[in-house]
């Protein structure tokens, strides 16, 4: 069984249109980030986060009233999977369990007839928050640097640069889309915490997987067809691996979709970000990574060989 026969789609020809598309979506994403700000979880901000499960459904507005009355005006309130489960997050720091207790007593006062249990309670001091934030940034930068080095070693530097540019593109795009969708879909918790950063690092890995496969084929073809025009060669290579690209990305997509739907609250944000990531990752391998090389090569009229 196969989905694709021999295809000859002119991928590179349409690339300029896709530059515009990418730039627009990233632009919108960055705008959203600017306007909404980053929805930091307490991992990076410090503070207290509580997830409670009520016996009966509650209205988020009532919870906000309760929190305002308790003095937590900066509290972030979300549903956590159903309208019985509420996530309350506030950056205030307090001695010991003070903040958590005040939140709990505030809820008890507001909902005397609707008992609740605490599912999860986290408290992070300010110093740790700053450390985790810094570590997260280092981790992402370190990954990109490590990949750049390794790929520079296996392929020529220009191609490695193209691959890493694609990764940057993917991170920015996903960041923007996560920001746009935050709060749009009910029960979808897209706060920026450690798990979300793990999702970003994962999508960097997955996107790179895809890019490397394409580059590997381009490299092989360059050996076989030494004098073929670069654009034509890239087109041919992408077409050849199209079957694999769609199937693999498709499989990962389906698996992540399963996680998104069935994986439970804690993983949902992670699944969403990874899902967006796999889509952009597949797309960027062609329209950012390879395209970048094409642009540089045509501008400088160099050979653009993949290997020395």
């Amino acid at each position: 069984m196969r989905f694709f026969g021999k295809t000859s789609i002119d991928f590179m020809g349409k690339r300029r249109i896709w530059y515009v598309v990418s730039a627009t979506v990233i632009g919108l994403g960055m705008l959203s980030l600017l306007v909404k700000g980053v929805n930091y979880g307490i991992d990076f901000l410090g503070g207290t986060e509580i997830v409670v499960r009520f016996q009966n459904g509650v209205d988020v507005g009532d919870i906000r009233t309760a929190m305002d009355k308790s003095g937590f005006t900066k509290a972030e309130i979300n549903t956590f999977g159903s309208d019985r489960d509420i996530l309350i997050r506030t950056p205030e720091q307090g001695e010991g369990n003070l903040v958590g207790e005040r939140i709990r007593s505030g809820l008890q006062t507001q909902f005397p007839t609707n008992p609740f249990i605490v599912q999860k309670e986290d408290k992070i001091g300010p110093k740790i928050g700053a450390e985790l934030r810094r570590d997260a940034i280092y981790a992402v930068l370190a990954s990109l640097a490590a990949i750049l080095l390794y790929l520079g070693f296996r392929f020529k530097f220009l191609w490695a640069a193209g691959a890493v540019t694609a990764l940057f593109h993917d991170v920015l795009l996903t960041l923007g889309l996560v920001s746009i969708f935050d709060g749009l879909i009910p029960h979808l918790n897209l706060e920026f915490n450690q798990t979300m950063v793990a999702a970003f690092l994962t999508l960097v890995g997955l996107s790179n997987n895809d890019t490397v496969v394409i580059f590997d084929r381009i490299r092989e073809n360059q050996k076989l067809f030494k004098s073929m025009d670069l654009v034509a060669l890239i087109n041919m290579s992408v077409n050849q691996v199209l079957s694999r690209t769609i199937i693999t990305s498709g499989t990962v997509f389906v698996v992540l979709a399963v996680l998104l739907v069935f994986g439970g609250e804690v993983i949902r944000g992670f699944a969403f970000a990874s899902l967006v990531g796999i889509v952009t990752g597949t797309y960027s391998s062609i329209y950012i990574a390879s395209a970048l090389v094409v642009e540089v090569v045509t501008k400088t009229k160099s050979q653009g060989k993949l290997i020395d």
Partner: protein
């Protein structure tokens, strides 16, 4: 045919090893399922019979993260600054000022507090030997000494925390050092957060201090009172609100016991409340009564005010150097029926402790049969017992305060000399409090206080939900993938599915072997591994299809497929592995669990995809000449 025999043997060996490592997990599950169906005596019998097996299985099964089994994870930071402060001698204003600055900086700085301290000293060109050790020691030596002391304190702190946790009774606790000054404590299954916080943070410094003589105390209090009344700084004593609720309990030192009047009879005559407050600012909030001679009663609401009063410089000067005021740990309800209020007790004690908790060798909580309330009895070592006998013998009819972490639990009267080295602490409100106290006393005092800088707790129901979600999504994801591969790649696909099963088994076995922890993101990692595993096979099979279409024989096509696809598989997976390693370094807790399963998964899935499937193909093509159908 023989060429794949070697690989075949390796694969079988791996399977055997995997089963060996996974067996405890299954056994643990199985035994607990059996246990669930029994009850009462049967279950006790079962546990007795299978004790070794139960323990062994539990120790070697795959560990579940806190986000899956519920529990608490706490990061403690040892307050090295306090330790350093306590080690200093001849502390003066300059020193206190320096400490203040270092404390402020240490809140946000990454640099070690000892180093910060050193820099402060050096920037002011003061030798550290002025406050530490001997005059002749130079800054380097003292710096090293302080650093050594901190390291020792942290190690001892870890030991003590471990002791306390062991006694508290948590199954599979995990206590580890993190960086220089931090301790991570993971307690699965624990739900009583407040108790755990108390357990971990209590310094448990136990001291026995003599109370000052009542008349001495009264004289000093009078001096304070006059000083405050005379002082023009009445801003800290707003008249009415000060008296808010401080009607002296009806055992006040005046002659009248008439609680209805707001006039207070004093030796100077009757005064109204405001007049009393103005003339006796101290006594109006720190109430001295005949019934509670030698101590002061302070209404709950006024505790802060009194504390501030006592902290004032002018007041401090009046208090003799060998004396200090310590608060009671608890309040008591006093007053006429219907008008009771909660009062703290303020104890004036001798600053130097007669005896400290180092001499306690055993502590036991019990219910005092006489009064039916929880108490903790303590036993001292020989040296302590002798000292205690001497102290009690010399202070009959005086009171000794039992001070724990700078609050007084009780201050009993010494009735006679105590020779057996026994003592007891009372004043706890509940059994669990007494139990915690016992643990904390037995385990010993922390050399330096610890702060809880990070705390995460997950309730058991969320843990169960997560497990259920994890199993469901794994099942669906695996099911879909298996189905797809079989349909799309036919026989080849079926073989890939076969290898996928091995991948999952090997992954879990490696996790068990390394005693790694499975977290919710870890389960996600396993699912992602499947996708990656599929990718390797897809690359190979697509290549095989291409080669076949190009005219190669099945045998040759398979060979070409594997070899040509290899570079792509290797490069792409290696980069993902790199991000996994980085993620493992940077992440904590659940995220580390994810990185772990991702890394193991990549390695294992490559092995399965490349080696196992290849061996199967070789067996099929060479032995039976079956034409493998790749769809």
């Amino acid at each position: 045919m023989k060429k794949y025999a070697g690989r075949f043997v390796i694969i079988v060996a791996c399977i055997i090893v995997a089963v060996y490592y996974l067996y405890p997990t299954w056994r643990d599950y199985d035994l607990h399922q059996q246990l669930k169906n029994l009850s009462g005596d049967d279950s006790l019998q079962f546990v007795a019979n299978h004790e070794a097996g139960l323990r062994d299985a539990r120790a070697r099964r795959i560990k579940l993260g806190l986000d899956l089994q519920g529990g608490m994870r706490v990061v403690l930071e040892v307050n090295v600054l306090r330790l350093v402060e306590d080690l200093a001698k001849n502390k003066d204003d300059v020193f206190n000022q320096i400490m203040k600055e270092v404390r402020a900086e240490a809140k946000t700085s990454e640099v070690s507090p000892v180093l910060l301290l050193r820099r402060k000293f050096e920037s002011r060109q003061i030798r550290m030997s002025r406050y530490y050790r001997n005059l002749r020691d130079n800054n380097d030596d003292i710096f090293k000494f302080l650093e050594d002391e901190s390291t020792k304190a942290i190690d001892r702190g870890m030991e003590i925390v471990r002791n306390r946790v062991d006694q508290y009774g948590v199954s599979e606790p995990s206590i580890q050092k993190l960086g220089g000054t931090r301790i991570i404590v993971a307690l699965p299954g624990v739900t009583k957060e407040a108790e755990v916080r108390q357990l971990l943070q209590a310094t448990s410094l136990l001291e026995f201090k003599l109370l000052k003589e009542p008349d001495v105390t009264y004289r000093i209090a009078e001096t304070i009172d006059k000083l405050l009344a005379a002082s023009a700084r009445t801003d800290t004593l707003p008249g009415d609100s000060l008296f808010a609720g401080t009607t002296a309990p009806d055992t006040s030192r005046t002659d009248t016991t008439n609680a209805e009047t707001t006039k207070i009879k004093t030796p100077e005559g009757e005064l109204s409340q405001e007049e009393f407050t103005r003339k006796h600012p101290f006594f109006s909030v720190a109430i001295y009564t005949e019934q509670f001679k030698g101590v002061f009663l302070v209404v709950e609401d006024n505790k802060e005010r009194v504390r501030r009063l006592l902290d004032r410089e002018d007041v401090q000067k009046v208090i003799p150097n060998d004396m200090e005021f310590i608060w009671s740990a608890k309040t008591q309800l006093l007053g006429e029926r219907g008008q009771e209020k909660r009062f703290f007790t303020l104890y004036p004690v001798k600053r130097n402790a007669e005896l400290t908790g180092g001499v306690i060798v055993n502590a036991k909580w019990q219910i005092d049969p006489n009064y039916n309330r929880p108490i903790v009895t303590m036993e001292m070592n020989n040296e302590g017992a002798r000292e205690w006998a001497r102290i009690t013998g010399a202070n009959i009819n005086k009171r000794i305060a039992i001070v724990l972490d700078n609050t007084v639990f009780s201050a009993p009267n010494v009735i006679n000399k105590i020779t057996g080295g026994h003592s007891q602490i009372e004043g706890m409100e509940s059994e669990s409090e007494a139990r915690l106290l016992e643990i904390v006393l037995k385990a010993g005092a922390l050399p330096a206080p610890v702060d809880i800088i990070e705390q995460r707790s997950v309730g058991p129901s969320l843990g169960e939900d997560s497990i259920r979600a994890g199993v469901t999504s794994s099942a669906i994801a695996i099911g879909l993938t298996v189905l797809f591969m079989a349909v799309y790649y036919r026989t080849g696909g079926a073989i890939a599915d076969f290898a996928l099963v091995f991948t999952v088994i090997f992954l879990l076995a490696v996790l068990a072997a390394f005693q790694g922890t499975l977290t919710m993101p870890g389960i996600a990692g396993i699912i992602l591994t499947l996708a990656v595993a599929v990718d390797a096979n897809v690359l190979i099979y697509e290549r095989i299809r291409e080669e076949t279409a190009g005219g190669k024989t099945p045998r040759a096509a398979i060979d070409a497929g594997y070899s040509k696809a290899f570079t792509a598989i290797f490069d792409s997976n290696l980069t993902t592995l790199i991000t996994g390693v980085i993620l493992y370094q940077f992440g904590t807790g659940p995220v580390q669990g994810f990185a772990l399963t991702l890394m193991i998964g990549i390695v294992v899935s490559l092995f399965s995809a490349i080696v196992i499937t290849r061996v199967v193909f070789d067996m099929m093509v060479d032995r039976s000449g079956i034409a493998v159908n790749f769809g």
